[in-house]
């Protein structure tokens, strides 16, 4: 028994904690070594990682494929941006208002959406997101329409790129820890049961629709948080944040990293944004490469990078160790 526990600690916990804490420490000391251009790139990765993880709670863990996460992301972004621009309320309050507003919108949208399944659910989320997009696009007097909402105040503390990086890093880590707790709670396990088999889960006395709605709302909250962060990070918000192309970006990030892994979207976001900057630096046909990557992923790597590592590479390493013995 003791050996098993020790083995467990050695193999999973220590390794994972070790790598995670190294990564976090590295992220904290990074600004000392690299230029601000890369810092803002990493900030973007962090925000998209949060959005991806939030979407993944709904998609990977509960099995609800949404085509419209960008709508809720944009609600968070616009709420924070408009509050900063039009009112004098404290910065912290606007950062809280973004996610809450997204959560409220998510509650209304989700209430309708969870009544439908599969393709109808997906199309309904798409239609709602497009409505949100239309509102931001057409309500020129309030949101600035196509020109976006720009030029809102930022707290002095966040004016430099490094300090805004630390702010984003801190919030993203807190949100990811919260999501991790949710995913591993009994509630999170119930969501996974719903993903595996909604009918059976209903039979053991779980109100599936209600749980799906809760997952939808929580996912919206964190999508809103990511949106708020991005509004503060970029200093401008545009209707296209709500567009279905943006939603598809988020889905690709989840898929690229691996949907059935908690940190999958984090890896996906880093690789996706890195590749997009790298390739679009060389060619104007970046979308062509993205398309090829996406098709390749679907055909050959459905579990994403994280799945590839844990299914293909990890067994190889273990085999090597065993042969060494």
């Amino acid at each position: 028994m003791r050996e098993i526990i020790q083995e467990f600690f050695k193999k999973t916990l220590t390794l994972r904690l070790f790598w995670l804490s190294t990564a976090v420490i590295l992220l904290f000391i990074l600004p000392l070594f690299i230029s601000t251009a890369y810092i803002s790139l990493i900030s973007e990765m962090l925000i998209m990682a949060l959005a991806g993880c939030a979407l993944n709670l709904m998609m990977g863990y509960t099995g609800m494929v949404s085509f419209g996460p960008a709508g809720l992301y944009a609600v968070g972004a616009y709420t924070t941006a408009l509050l900063l621009k039009k009112t004098g309320i404290p910065f912290a309050a606007t950062m809280v208002a973004g996610p809450i507003m997204a959560g409220l919108v998510g509650a209304v949208v989700g209430w309708f959406c969870v009544r439908r399944t599969a393709v109808y659910f997906a199309l309904l989320t798409l239609a709602f997101a497009q409505i949100i997009w239309t509102i931001f696009f057409e309500w020129y007097d309030f949101t600035g329409g196509d020109d976006g909402t720009v030029g809102f105040r930022k707290p002095e503390l966040l004016l430099s790129i490094n300090s805004s990086y630390y702010f984003i890093l801190l919030i993203v880590i807190i949100c990811l820890i919260l999501l991790w707790i949710i995913v591993n709670s009994p509630f999170g396990k119930t969501l996974q049961a719903i993903r595996e088999n909604p009918v059976r889960t209903e039979f053991i006395g779980v109100n599936v629709k209600r749980y799906q709605l809760y997952a939808f709302i929580i996912s919206s909250l964190f999508l809103g948080a990511a949106g708020s962060l991005f509004a503060v990070f970029s200093g401008s918000v545009f209707p296209d944040y709500a567009h279905w192309i943006k939603s598809t970006d988020m889905i690709v990030i989840c898929l690229l990293g691996g949907m059935y892994n908690f940190l999958g979207p984090v890896i996906g976001s880093a690789v996706y944004i890195f590749l997009s900057k790298l390739i679009s630096g060389y060619t104007m046909y970046w979308m062509l490469f993205l398309g090829i990557i996406v098709v390749f992923l679907v055909l050959f790597m459905r579990n994403g990078i994280a799945g590839f590592i844990s299914h293909k590479i990890a067994p190889l390493i273990q085999e090597n160790k065993e042969t060494e013995k």
Binding site: V65, V119, Y120, A122, A127, T134, V252, V294
Partner: protein, 292 residues
Amino acid sequence: MDIEAIMGQVLSGLSVGMVLFLIASGLSVIFGTLKILNLAHGTIYMIGGFLCYWITSTFAHIPAIFWLALILGPIATALLGGLIEIFLLRRIYAEEMLYQYILTFGLILILGELCKLIWGVGYHTVSVPWPVDGKMSIFGMIYPVYNIFLICCGVAVFIGLMAVMRFTGLGRIIRAVTFNREMANALGINVPMVYTGVFMLGCWLAGLAGTLMPPMSVVALGTDMAVIIDCFIIVVIGGMGSLSGAFIGAIILGLVNAFGISLLPKLTIAFGFLLMIIILIIRHWGLLGKPE
């Protein structure tokens, strides 16, 4: 709004609606049989438009080249569709909808960029071909003949498709595969071939719409994105997989857009989505679809 303006709006709404019907009917037939939501369908339409421009401008010296393009363009998109089905889609029928969505999204990117590579980023126009150029008068009002020609095309294709589905052996086979794939397979129908055929039919329809549209509009990158969303709205309103539903849905959306632009320009885009949401909430199988 006087009667003349209203008739004008109806006519332009119907002619755009009929082109949308051609695209949406392909999307709907593909979804009905293959159970795949083909996001790249709008891109196939766009390629049809580029082919029309390319053929008419390269071989401009040949008389009646537009009509030749109208035959060749859709055939080319159908062949492209066949390749896509055989090499890509066939591998993912058993997978979740998410993968189909993402795969066809990847196709949007690849095909769109290839169009950019081949035909550039500019706008192209195609002149209205003889003998459907010019104007004609109906009840004393003057309309472009081409719009009426488009409406006739849409109605003709609708009737033709319905007839094929109802009265021919081919239509029976397609309906059988749509109804129950395993049973059709057991009865000796070559299901994979039917799938390829139906997908090619859908792409042929999109290509047909793509070649018909340029004389009335422009050929440009990005038209695929606008069109595919419209098609989703149409297919949802009419019922996914239903041909007559797509016909009704296209007429509704065409008219809503035409009148919306002149009455409430700001809310026009939203109307289509609102219709889609309402249908999905109260009657998600659509106006003419069958409840599952």
